[in-house]
């Protein structure tokens, strides 16, 4: 059976305000789905709700991973079932080392340190930064790359990336995009990338692009969608959201 992540009619509120208003998306192993949309359209809300962030309340809808009801699981079980979120602003956790987190997250201990170093090198992150406490004293760009190290180490079936491209310079962005592209074939990782920019897509080939506006998917298309957005912006899609 190939892996499948299925989101149906998902409604989510943040601080009492409904932000996702019936979100649908289905993706399979090794696919790259890109979610693009203006600020406030609900992109990050989707990512946080799927990862079980305590500030996001699911009102309705379902999310299944290979048929398992993800929303009934704890945040850690969601990750262990194969859905991992790379955050836009990874949190600092003082006193906690990346290695210990990966071990506690269930990464096989055999050769773990070596795998982490290898992953760091693939996204051009100095491996010695992995000895620092989790995200402490790292720059914004280094934190993003540290998230990629976790992803490469844990090898989830599906990876959600919340604006992984922001704060990265061109070289780092390119390394991250290549790492994600490789993941799709190395272990059939499905990639769900949330982004504002089409630059990420120069080295990460999207299977599908979803345009999100006002909490719903308003348009879905192939890689050509990125060019349309680049040319016309999000404005034409806002009307679709109101429709």
């Amino acid at each position: 059976m190939t892996a499948e992540l299925k989101i149906e009619g998902l409604r989510v509120s943040v601080a009492g305000k409904e932000v996702l208003k019936g979100f649908d998306l289905t993706m399979g192993a090794g696919e790259v789905h890109v979610i693009m949309g203006p600020n406030g359209s609900g992109k990050s809300t989707l990512a946080h709700a799927l990862a079980g962030h305590p500030g996001y309340q699911v009102l309705d809808g379902s999310v299944t991973l290979n048929g398992v009801d993800l929303l009934s699981l704890s945040p850690s079980d969601r990750a262990r079932h194969g859905l991992l979120l790379a955050l836009q602003q990874p949190l600092e956790v003082p006193g906690v080392r990346p290695y210990d987190v990966m071990a506690a997250a269930g990464a096989p201990l055999d050769g773990l340190r070596e795998r982490m170093i290898d992953e760091a090198e693939r996204v051009v992150l100095r491996p010695e930064l992995l000895e620092r406490f989790l995200n402490v004293d790292l720059s914004g760009g280094e934190r993003k790359r540290a998230e990629m190290v976790q992803l490469g180490t844990l090898r989830p079936q599906f990876a959600m990336l919340d604006e992984i491209d922001s704060g990265l310079d061109v070289d780092a962005l390119s390394a991250v995009a290549r790492r994600l592209q490789a993941a799709t074939t190395e272990w059939g990782c499905g990639v769900l990338a949330i982004t504002h920019f089409s630059r990420l897509l120069q080295e990460l080939t999207p299977t599908v692009i979803h345009v999100v506006s006002a909490g719903r998917v308003v348009a879905t298309g192939g890689p050509e969608m990125a060019d349309i957005l680049e040319r016309d912006g999000y404005e034409p899609f806002r009307d679709l959201a109101r429709a």
Partner: protein, 406 residues
């Protein structure tokens, strides 16, 4: 049955020492504190009776980490019940001795402190660690401070000469049902650097009432860390007087309270000269029905211009029955200063915990990592090699703690 006073008088009779006699008489005059004294209000003094601490032998299983730690130290000093029993290794410019009195602590600073007076009267003799001017001691000095009897009054003086550098790790263990009252004085000379770390692993039945006083000359740097896991009642008072211009003091304290433990931390950063800097970070956690209190005073003398003083206290509550108090105090008599303090009492940070959980770390393991992290942050400043041993020991100790989160 003999009383503590009989025991103390017998001890005093073995020394021909007027200072001890005076300190003892002063102790008798001052008397034991009571919880109506503000600075003792959190101590379980109703259970405290000096006569409980006169039997001779205490714990047998002592200093399990000593040899592992010693492997990473340049010089290892063993103190047993305050008596210097051995010095292994040597370093040029470093001298260690135990001898009466001429180097004694300036007790006028401790008048009215019953336990400091008791230490002065009953200590076997002050142990003095002296670093010669200009001597930079690379390898850390380890002090294995063990309590095997039911009372112990170790007295330690570290005298770092001008332009010298030394790193000391003190490891306290033993003390089953014992009263352990260490008194430590740290003298940091002009442009000298001293790093002094205390790892307190006494028995959970010990009464540990420790006090340290530091005196920093011009351009001196003192980095002090206190990590406590043991003790029924653990009191740690750490003062620093920045006497010379541009002196710098960093103090980090941390603890884990379990069972019915009480951790009572007191600090005083006294800025006497200008352009002096102090940073204090106190982080602790209480589980079960443990309690903790942090009382910190930043005092800035008139004329101590351009002083920069920062004090941060965070207490974690790991059970709904645990309790933490935080009492920061400022006494500032100069306008041209920077001074900041922050304190918090609460459960573990929910978002940090979620972040770990979202990686696949189960909640309980995430909480344990975060609590461990409190200590690991402190251990991060340890000398090379010693940190890993202490980390492993802390991890083992924490594994026994129960965390109940809301």
């Amino acid at each position: 049955m003999s009383t503590f006073f009989d025991h103390a008088r017998a001890q005093l009779a073995t020394h021909d020492d007027t200072l001890r006699q005076q300190l003892w008489e002063r102790f008798v005059e001052v008397g034991l504190p009571s919880t109506t004294d503000e600075v003792w209000r959190y101590a379980p003094l109703s259970d405290f009776d000096l006569d409980n601490f006169v039997a001779t032998d205490s714990s047998s299983d002592v200093a399990p980490l000593a040899s592992a730690l010693a492997a990473h130290a340049g010089v290892t000093v063993h103190l047993v019940d305050g008596v210097l029993t051995s010095v292994d290794g040597a370093a040029s410019g470093l001298s260690i001795s135990q001898s009466p009195a001429e180097t004694s602590i300036a007790f006028e600073h401790y008048d009215g402190d019953a336990f400091a007076l008791l230490n002065g009267a009953l200590t076997p003799n002050p142990v003095t660690i002296r670093v010669a001017s200009g001597a930079v001691i690379d390898a850390p000095l380890l002090i294995v401070n063990t309590t095997t009897r039911s009372n112990s009054f170790p007295q330690l003086i570290v005298d770092a000469g001008d332009n010298s550098a030394l790193s000391v790790v003190e490891y306290l263990s033993g003390g089953e049902n014992a009263l352990v009252v260490p008194l430590t004085e740290l003298r940091v000379g002009v442009n000298a650097s001293l790093h002094f770390t205390t790892y307190q692993r006494l028995a959970p039945t010990a009464w540990h009432i420790a006090r340290s006083g530091a005196y920093l000359a011009k351009d001196a740097r003192l980095r002090q860390s206190v990590i406590s896991l043991g003790g029924h009642y653990n009191r740690s008072r750490n003062d620093a007087d920045m006497v010379g211009m541009n002196a710098e003091n960093e103090l980090r304290t941390t603890f884990l309270g379990t069972g019915t433990q009480i951790h009572d931390y007191r600090t005083r950063q006294f800025h006497i000269a200008g352009r002096t800097r102090s940073t204090l970070l106190s982080k602790g956690a209480v589980a079960d029905t443990a309690r903790c209190v942090y009382t910190g005073l930043i005092e800035i003398e008139k004329g101590a211009k351009r002083t920069d003083a920062r004090q941060t206290n965070h207490n974690l509550l790991l059970s709904p029955h645990a309790h933490a108090d935080s009492v920061p105090n400022l006494d500032i008599r100069e306008n041209d200063v920077m001074c900041a303090h922050a304190s918090s009492v609460g459960p573990l940070d929910e978002l940090q915990r979620w972040y770990l959980e979202s990686r696949g770390v189960p909640r309980e393991a995430a909480e344990r990592l975060m609590i461990q992290g409190f200590f690991y942050e402190m251990v991060a400043t340890f000398p090379e090699g010693l940190g890993a041993i202490v980390e492993a020991d802390i991890t083992q100790a924490l594994a026994a703690a129960t965390v109940v989160t809301p």
